[in-house]
């Protein structure tokens, strides 16, 4: 390996993954200096990272590109705190979480139906809690050029189901994701996974996350990254006229998923 010049090795390492480069840095002292070079980590960073840094709520200090990469792996508030940005450590791909304020929730501005309040377990300034409504429709959108190209993404609605919830799972809700010509549709029952398990062998659409929230899979899509289109994600339950209540919405998360995850 020593026969290779440094820039060759840098090129080779940049073709592997951030994880591999990290492992490389504990191999030997020479390997470590090579693995920490800025040229490699620059390739792992999103190409428009300067612009992203300028939009962060709290400016980020970093000492090297590797440092910056590792910093960005943690979620950061961006765009005046309306979104959260992070990159996946293993691949360097971009993840976004849109806050509830960024979404368009039908009748969301009416205090009769939705109440907005800060919640301890959410990083955003406010989450939306459903007081009671019969027309449940939550929409979110994001531009594809903000996401990493040539990646499969999954969209998830991050919610909690309050104790006082009712009517959410009387009828299945429709979820959909639309990008350009592609549209995916599905139906899910908005109920806690515990209840779901007892009810039988339906698909578990509401999953527990590591934080205390549930996520409802809205769909997945492949981001070409070529043209700039809008990804439109939606959950709605408008067919039933019954009242629903008790859904706490933190936001929508868009993150890269693996191929097998996309097809389950």
């Amino acid at each position: 390996m020593e026969v290779l010049p440094d820039d060759c090795i840098a090129h080779i390492l940049s073709l592997t993954s951030p994880q591999d480069v990290g492992k490389h840095s504990v191999i030997s002292s020479m390997a470590r200096s090579r693995a920490n070079s800025d040229t490699i980590w620059d390739k792992f960073l999103p190409h428009d990272y300067q612009q992203i840094l300028s939009r962060l709520l709290i400016p980020l200090l970093y000492s090297s590109k590797k440092d910056l990469f590792l910093n960005l792996c943690k979620p950061h508030l961006i765009d005046q705190g309306n979104k959260m940005f992070s990159i996946q450590k293993s691949t360097g791909k971009i993840c976004y979480m849109l806050s509830a304020r960024e979404l368009s929730i039908e009748w969301g501005s009416s205090p009769l139906y939705w109440s907005w309040k800060p919640l301890r377990s959410s990083r955003f300034a406010q989450v939306a809690e459903l007081r009671t409504i019969s027309w449940l429709e939550i929409r979110g959108s994001i531009h594809t050029h903000a996401l990493s190209p040539r990646t499969i993404y999954g969209a998830y609605l991050i919610v909690k189901i309050a104790d006082r919830a009712y009517g959410l799972d009387s009828l299945p809700s429709e979820v959909s994701v639309e990008v350009g010509n592609f549209k995916s549709k599905a139906t899910v029952y908005v109920r806690s996974p515990l209840k779901q398990a007892s009810k039988g062998n339906e698909e578990v659409a509401c999953r527990n996350r590591e934080d205390e929230w549930l996520e409802i899979e809205l769909g997945s899509f492949f981001n070409e990254g070529e043209d700039n289109s809008q990804v439109r994600m939606c959950l709605k339950e408008v067919k039933g006229v019954h009242l629903k209540a008790g859904l706490i919405v933190e936001g929508i998360e868009i993150r890269p998923i693996s191929l097998d995850q996309a097809f389950t």
Binding site: L4, P5, C8, I12, Q19, G22, V26, I27, S63, R123
Partner: protein, 472 residues
């Protein structure tokens, strides 16, 4: 052979053909064409003969029509290579066109040192295949795949040689192959494959940051790392590791005991209002910031928000958490606990295992409870007695248990947490990565700060209202 010559103008043809002959390959060609030519000549068909001669010229005497360049490899040997093929390499191309080298043996192009004869032949094989324009992409791809099937050492040499000749397509091909080899392997495996030395010491694997931005935080962290390194060296020098650690323990325990027993100070001393206010402010800060970020399991925010007593310690918290996350994922598991320890000078001396985190939980779960609201109250005598008893009890427990426990932890350094049998208070919801902070603060700043640091993290400790003691 052109033996069937006739003594007439036709013989001139064959003689010419003879003259044009250069070597074996050409000979065969001439023989083939020449025979036909001679036959035609014999038949008197000059036109036909001409045609064949023309054909032969066009097909090319490979050596006459095609130019050759002379290349000299690293070992000094010089060889002739078809110009067309050699020109595929930008470096050779440059040498021929710009400098006019390579036309003869004396003016052979000196190839870079990294190009050995074996590598050169490989590269020429590659060039020979790819410079032919008529190949389909599929053909090229399958050739490439077969081409790079060689052992890793040769692959490295080939990459190096191709890079020096600036043959980018080949460099890309070999780089990708090497990247595929590296992907997903553990450091040991990579060391084996590429014969790299394992010359990083244990502490170097902790990755002290290079201080490129002259950030005081990073400088401080490096200083702490240096201190840790020194300490590790000391430990290695002494044969009895356990004894060394015990000394370390006792020192800190002594501090603790002296503090608790009231050496040179009155444990019942009431805090001055100034300190009280300072602590309260700090507490509130911690509480607020903690509440805000409570849901954020991120280790970074934890580090940011827990305010340590000095600005120094504060910054250590931040950067060490960053480092911790990094090492957590990328480096050995052993290094997991290492960085968290560097909270303060004292924490450094305590020990190196991640077990410390769990000790802390248990230690604090003893009969120590703080009531935030009572900071400003006076203690009445009856209560004071109770407090004294509690303190004495606590001190006793600490005194008896601590060195033994510390020894246990440190002797099992590097392992995962050992099961401790401390009675745990079910109330504590302190999170794992808070422990080192608490421990360090506890030991460095004394019991008077337990309230502030525990309050900030929401830990309820069972103890009757306890007046914080001022540390002078």
């Amino acid at each position: 052979m052109v033996s069937t010559m006739m003594e007439n103008p036709r013989t001139a043809w064959s003689r010419d053909v003879d003259l044009l002959r250069c070597n074996d390959a050409t000979e065969i060609l001439i023989m083939k064409v020449g025979d036909v030519m001679v036959r035609n000549l014999a038949r008197g068909a000059h036109k036909e003969a001409n045609k064949h001669l023309a054909q032969w010229t066009v097909l090319g005497n490979p050596k006459m029509i095609k130019a050759y360049v002379w290349l000299q490899t690293s070992d000094g040997s010089i060889q002739q290579v078809e110009q067309e093929i050699a020109m595929f390499c930008p470096l050779i191309c440059h040498e021929i066109i710009q400098k006019g080298m390579g036309s003869s043996k004396n003016y052979a192009i000196c190839l870079p040192q990294r190009v050995s004869p074996a590598m050169l032949s490989l590269i020429l094989d590659y060039c020979r295949f790819h410079q032919v324009p008529g190949r389909s992409n599929k053909e090229r791809k399958s050739f490439d795949e077969k081409f790079i099937r060689m052992d890793t050492k040769r692959l490295c040499e080939l990459t190096s040689a191709a890079d020096s000749l600036q043959l980018k397509p080949l460099v890309d091909l070999t780089s990708r192959a090497l990247a595929r080899i590296i992907e997903g392997k553990t450091p040991e495996e990579i060391r084996e494959i590429f014969h790299l030395p394992d010359d990083l010491t244990e502490e170097e694997k902790l990755e002290p940051l290079k201080n490129t931005t002259d950030d005081p935080r990073i400088r401080l962290l490096n200083r702490l790392y240096a201190k840790k390194r020194k300490e590790l060296k000391e430990r290695e020098r002494l044969k009895n590791v356990e004894v060394e650690e015990e000394h370390v323990d006792e020192r800190s325990v002594d501090d603790l005991l002296s503090f608790i027993n009231g050496n040179d100070r009155d444990p019942k001393e009431i805090k001055t209002s100034k300190n009280r206010k300072k602590n309260r402010r700090k507490k509130d800060q911690q509480k607020n910031s903690f509440l805000k970020e409570a849901s954020e399991l991120d280790k970074e925010t934890n580090g940011h928000n827990i305010r340590c007593q000095s600005a120094e310690a504060d910054t250590i918290g931040e950067t060490s958490n960053i480092r911790h996350t990094e090492d957590d994922t990328f480096s050995h598991k052993e290094t997991n606990g290492h960085n968290i320890r560097c909270q303060s000078a004292d924490a450094d001396t305590i020990g190196e295992t991640s077990n410390i985190r769990y000790t802390e939980d248990d230690t604090f779960a003893h009969k120590v409870e703080f009531d935030d609201g009572d900071m400003d109250d006076e203690i009445d005598p009856a209560l004071q007695e109770k407090i004294d008893r509690e303190v004495a009890d606590f001190a006793r427990r600490l005194n008896s248990d601590w060195p033994m426990r510390m020894k246990e932890f440190l002797s099992s350094s590097g392992q995962e947490r050992t099961s401790m049998h401390f009675p745990t208070n079910g109330n504590s919801f302190l999170r794992r990565h808070d422990y080192p902070f608490l421990l360090s603060r506890f030991l460095s700043s004394g019991v008077d700060d337990i309230s502030s640091c525990c309050a900030g993290t929401g830990l309820r400790m069972e103890m009757t209202p306890y007046k914080p003691i001022q540390m002078t």
